[in-house]
Structure formats: C-alpha cells, structure tokens
C-alpha cells in the first residue's frame, strides 16, 4: 500500500470541512457555484468512501494518528469494515438527497450547502474516530449542522418542530458530556481501545461510577437512535423537515445505532470482566418496545411523512433489539437490514414530497414557505417546479410499490433478504446463547419482526390505494427528472443489494465477526506506531 492511500483515511473529514468553509465564503447570490462545489465535494467524499471500503475489506484495521501522536495520548482515526460501510452508506444518501435538493430546496434558505457539508463532516467523523471526546465533538458538529438543516425552508411548523428537536438533542448532548467525564474520572483515558483494556481492571467501588457514565452515554445515543420512550422528538421533526433534509436525516438515527454497535461489544463484550453484557438487556427490551410502538404508529398514521417516520422507529427498534441479542450472525444480518432500510426510508421521504405535491396540504405548506422566505416570483410553487412528464404517475406508483415491498419485506427486493437472514440467525443460535431468556426474546423478536412487516404492508397498501388507485382529485404532480433520478437510484441500489446478495452478506458477516471480537481492533489501535516517514500504517 502506498503512502498516499494511508492519507485517504482523513479525507472524509477534511474534504467536507474545507468545502463547507469555502462555501461560506460565497453569499446566497451564487447558488449555482455553491451547488457545484457542494456536489463535487459530496461525490469526491463518496468516491473516497468506496476506496476505503475496498481497503477495509482487503486489509483489516487502518489506524491514522492525527499529528503523529501515539495512540492512547493522541487522537486516532480508525477504519474498519463497519466504519467503511457506514461511510459509503452516508455518501450514497448525501449524493441522492443533494441531487434532489437541486430541483428547488437548495435555494429555500440560507447556507444550505455549508450546513450540508458540515453535517457530512460530523457524521463521517463519528464513524472514523477512535476517541470518546472526539466522538462528542463530531456529534456536536453533526447536531449543530442538523439544527440549521431542520429549520431549512422556514415556516411555522418547521420552527415549532425544529425547536423541539434542538432542545431535546441539546439535553442529550449534555448527558453525553457528563457520561464522558464520569468515565474519564475513573479510567483516566478516553481512547476507546485503551478504555476497553482498562475497564476490566476497574475496582469494584468505582465500577458503579463507570457504569453510570456508560448509561448516561447510552441515553444520549438512544435519544439519537429513537428508542421508544426517548423517540417523541423524531415524529415531529422528521415530517416537518424539507424532503432532502429528511432523507439525509434517515442516516442520523443510524449514527446512534452505529455508536451503540461499536461501543457495546468493545467495552462490554465477553472480555469485559464484571461489566460484561452491561446494558444489553435495556437495548433488547427497549428495541422490542420500539418495534411495537413504531408498528402501531405505522398502522395509525394518515400522513405519509408520519408513516415514514414511524418506519424509522421500526427500523431502529429492530436494530437495537438485534444489538441487544448480541450474536455475531444476527448482527451481520442486522447490518444488511440497516443498509436496506436506510436506503428505503430515504427514498420514501423523497418520494413523499413528489406525491404530495399534487395534494393540497403540502401545497399549502410550500406556499407558506415561499412567502416566508420571500421568493422573488410569486407563482404557485407547483408551477415553477417541473413539468407534467408523461407517465409520471406510473413511475411514482412503481417507486411507491417498491418502497412498500422493501418496508414490508416482500420477496423480490432486499428488505426480504434482510428480514429472512435475521430470522434465520435467530433460529440458528450458536451454542453460547442458549439460555431460556434469550430464546424467549428471540421468539418475541421474530413475532414483532413479522407483525411489523405486515403492519407496513397494510399501511402502504392503504395509502397506495388512496393516492394511486382512487384519488379524490386526479392532479398529476409536476416533477423534474432531477427529482426522480435520486429516488430511482436509491431503489436500484436495493435491487443491487438483492442481486449481489451473496458478496454483500459475506462482507456484513465479516464486519459483524470483527465487531464481536474487538481484540484485533484494540490491538491495531494501541500498537499503531508513530512513523517518521510517510509509510503505510495499515496492519494485519
């Protein structure tokens, strides 16, 4: 591996940082230029992410020492299969929602492009960092950018939901900080690998303090992931956000999931001594409750955006319960489900805006938006966006049916493979996890997974009949090609996941086994040598 490949690891953070700052240099009178810079940076980040994915798949863990300080003292960036997978997923969603935003949303408020890039920087940083405090910093960068984005487009509904979102997430960040400082006060380190080494040696009197700190951290991540009692903010914020923002926000709840998936096997895995398995019961029960809650919500929602938000909860709940069951095979399938459901929900959020464009409530909202932000032309928003393409309704209908099949988990698309693989993993447990409680939890998980699919199918059928088969007013929504392309792109990706199911599943299983056996991760981080020459630091 050449020296240059090694520097790729820092680019997913530095590229969005530099381009976000560059975009702030230009004011809002240069939308085209800003759009081009944003698009180039987003695509370059995606390209880097794909290269990192290949790198992570061939050699195992890549460690980058920022400022060349050795590991427990300096800040490290760590690349493994899990972080590379999340980087690629984020890049794909970013490219799709940015393309969608070019139709109209990117000029609907100030500094959209900068905020978008800073959001990417924060999210990518969360995936790559190997240090707790740095995790907090990247979390804050991500949240600060998302506060701006959730208000993007303005309007009273967005302000109300957005302020709610901001208040809840600021509180969660506060808990995060308290948790980090509690852990530091006991262990004296915040490097994740070093923490995993030191945790088993914590004395009995201090153990309560560490676990309290970890629990506070967990609450912060669960708020982000949307576990049931903590998810009330999500249902207001996501439907109110502009469509491309909601689509990129589909990854934000998965960021919370990612951190839990990274930290709980690393810090509280089998090797953690007295704290082993800490919190997995909470994740399991909370996850199951979240699936049930999301399922009822899916059945009860009238508006499509709320349906999509409840689907996020179902997806989060499924993943949390899968993490709580802490079984490497199940985690592999759950990762497949994570990718599939995130792509689906993002596509669905984009699709909803197009479908609802012809209907009156959304049109009202858009009109209010245009008025509040002071668009120069006072035309009806539908008239300025797009033309009535031939067969628009057919394309939208097919996309909608695809989303429905993916959410419900019906055979041809990847939703089916994901759910089937998870069920297979639950029913074929390894010899270690055969306690009575786990088996019962497995049955409940299975039941809820199937029922939630049925609920999604019913809800999508109902909405589909109302919108496509028996519409009250048969106005064809006016749609631009640039708005259809990202939706079709995302849905085709799920199709590709199905067609290339074997290799993808193999990658996911490798990822899961690496996550559940963190010794190699710890070893790579702590032995990464600070090098005088620009040589490769990727270890076997």
């Amino acid at each position: 591996m050449s020296g240059w490949m090694h520097h790729l690891l820092v680019l997913p953070v530095v590229l969005p940082l530099a381009s976000g700052a560059l975009l702030l240099m230009y004011n809002e009178r240069r939308p085209f230029l800003k759009g081009v810079i944003n698009l180039i940076s987003t695509l370059a980040t995606l390209y880097v992410a794909v290269m990192l994915l290949r790198l992570a798949d061939t050699s195992s863990t890549g460690v980058y020492l920022l400022g060349n300080w050795p590991a427990p003292f300096g800040i490290v960036l760590v690349l493994d299969r899990l972080s590379a997978l999340m980087l690629v997923l984020t890049g794909v969603l970013a490219a799709a929602s940015l393309t969608f935003a070019f139709a109209r949303w990117h000029t609907a408020g100030a500094h959209f492009h900068s905020l978008f890039q800073f959001l990417l920087m924060g999210v990518n940083g969360v995936y790559l960092t190997g240090d707790m405090f740095n995790l907090f910093v990247f979390f804050e960068v991500m949240l600060a950018a998302s506060y701006g984005l959730v208000l993007h487009g303005s309007g009273p509904q967005r302000i109300r939901a957005g302020l709610h979102y901001i208040a809840v997430n600021l509180t969660a960040s506060f808990l995060f900080l308290i948790g980090v400082s509690l852990i530091y006060s006991v262990t004296g380190t915040l490097n994740m690998a070093d923490l995993a080494v030191r945790l088993p040696a914590v004395t009995e009197s201090d153990r309560g303090l560490v676990e309290a700190g970890a629990a506070l951290l967990g609450v912060a991540f669960l708020v982000k992931a949307g576990m049931w009692p903590l998810s009330f903010w999500l249902l207001g914020a996501y439907p109110a956000a502009a469509a491309p923002v909601a689509a990129i926000f589909a990854i934000l709840s998965k960021v919370g999931i990612y951190v839990l998936l990274r930290l709980s096997p690393l810090l509280f895995g089998a090797q953690a001594g007295a704290s082993a398995g800490f919190g997995s019961q909470v994740l399991l029960i909370g996850g199951l409750a979240t699936i049930a809650y999301g399922m009822i919500g899916v059945l009860a929602s009238q508006a499509m955006a709320r349906l999509a938000s409840y689907s996020i909860l179902v997806s989060s709940g499924t993943l949390l319960a899968a993490i709580g069951l802490s079984d490497a095979n199940l985690t592999g399938s759950a990762l497949f489900y994570l990718v599939s459901s995130t792509l689906t929900i993002a596509a669905f959020f984009l699709l909803i805006e197009l479908i609802e464009r012809g209907q009156s409530p959304a049109a009202d909202l858009l009109a209010v938006t245009a008025e509040a932000f002071g668009d120069e032309d006072e035309d009806e928003p539908e008239d300025e966006v797009g033309v009535a393409l031939p067969g628009t309704l057919a394309i939208l209908g097919v996309c909608f049916a695809g989303c429905g099949m993916l959410l419900a988990g019906l055979p041809p698309l990847s939703g089916f493979i994901a759910k089937f693989a998870m069920l297979a993993a639950v029913f074929a447990p390894p010899a270690t996890g055969t306690e009575g409680g786990i088996a019962l939890a497995g049955w409940i998980f299975t039941g809820l997974l199937i029922l939630s699919g049925l609920a999604a199918l019913l809800a999508m059928l109902r909405v589909g009949i109302r919108v496509f088969w028996a519409p009250v007013d048969a106005t064809v929504p006016r749609v631009l090609v640039v708005e259809l392309v990202p939706i079709i792109f995302l849905l085709l990706l799920t199709l590709a996941l199905t067609v290339r199911g074997g290799p993808v599943m193999r990658y996911m299983e490798d990822t899961a086994s690496a996550v559940h056996a963190p010794e190699r991760y710890i070893d790579s981080v702590l032995t990464a040598p600070p090098v005088p020459a620009p040589a490769a630091q990727v270890h076997r």
Partner: protein, 138 residues
Amino acid sequence: MSLDLILRIGTKLILPFILLFALYVQFHGDYGPGGGFQAGVITSGVVVLLTITFGLEAAQRMAPQAVVQRMIPLGVLIYAGTGVAGLLLGKNFLDYSVLGHDAVHAHELGIFLVEAGVLVTVAGTMTAIFYAFVERGR
C-alpha cells in the same frame, strides 16, 4: 450619547490596549493560559465597545459585515490548511514537524497558525452574533 465626551475619549484611548491585550492572550496561549478562543472573544469585545459608544454605523465602518462574515470560514480554512500542509509535506494530518527546520520551531509555528485560525473564526463569529442581535431591534 454623542455629548458624552469622557466616554468617547476614554473609549478611544482604551481600544488599542484591548486589542494589544487580545494579542498578548493569543501569543501567551502557546505555553500558558490563553489562546485563540479567548483572544477572539476579547477582539470582538472591541466591536461591542465601539457599538455601545459610537453606534452601529461607526462599528460597521471599522468591521464591515462582509469582512466579518468572511472571517468565519477564513479561520476554518487556516486551520484546515495548516493540517493539509503537513499532509502535503509527507506527514500525517496536523503533524506540524515539517513546517520548520527543527521540530521545536515547527511545532511552535504550527500551533501559532492553528491558534491564528481559531482567533479569526471566533472573533468573526462573536461579532456576527453581536451584529445579528443589535440589528434585530432596528
């Protein structure tokens, strides 16, 4: 306000010293308490004092909106640029040791540049927030 001679003359006398103190805090930050963030806040204090004494127009003649708003990304770019300079010269991101002829000087220069970036961004951000609040009431 315009009749308050003592306040106006006093402000004019004290302004350069506030800036000087900001720079002291800035350069002291290498090895002691202080640094770019504190210096940036003190620098933006100059603008606040000017606005209170001479009014918003006078302050914005000295620190125009356009400049203030470009200071925010400029500082970030200085910071990122310092990191990338290390990267381009064959070391890790944010490794300063290639910036000078020996490691000690190089690290001092690296920290100086990074802190300068912080100063510019913080001063710009604080001033922009202050302008936003002052202009709300107009």
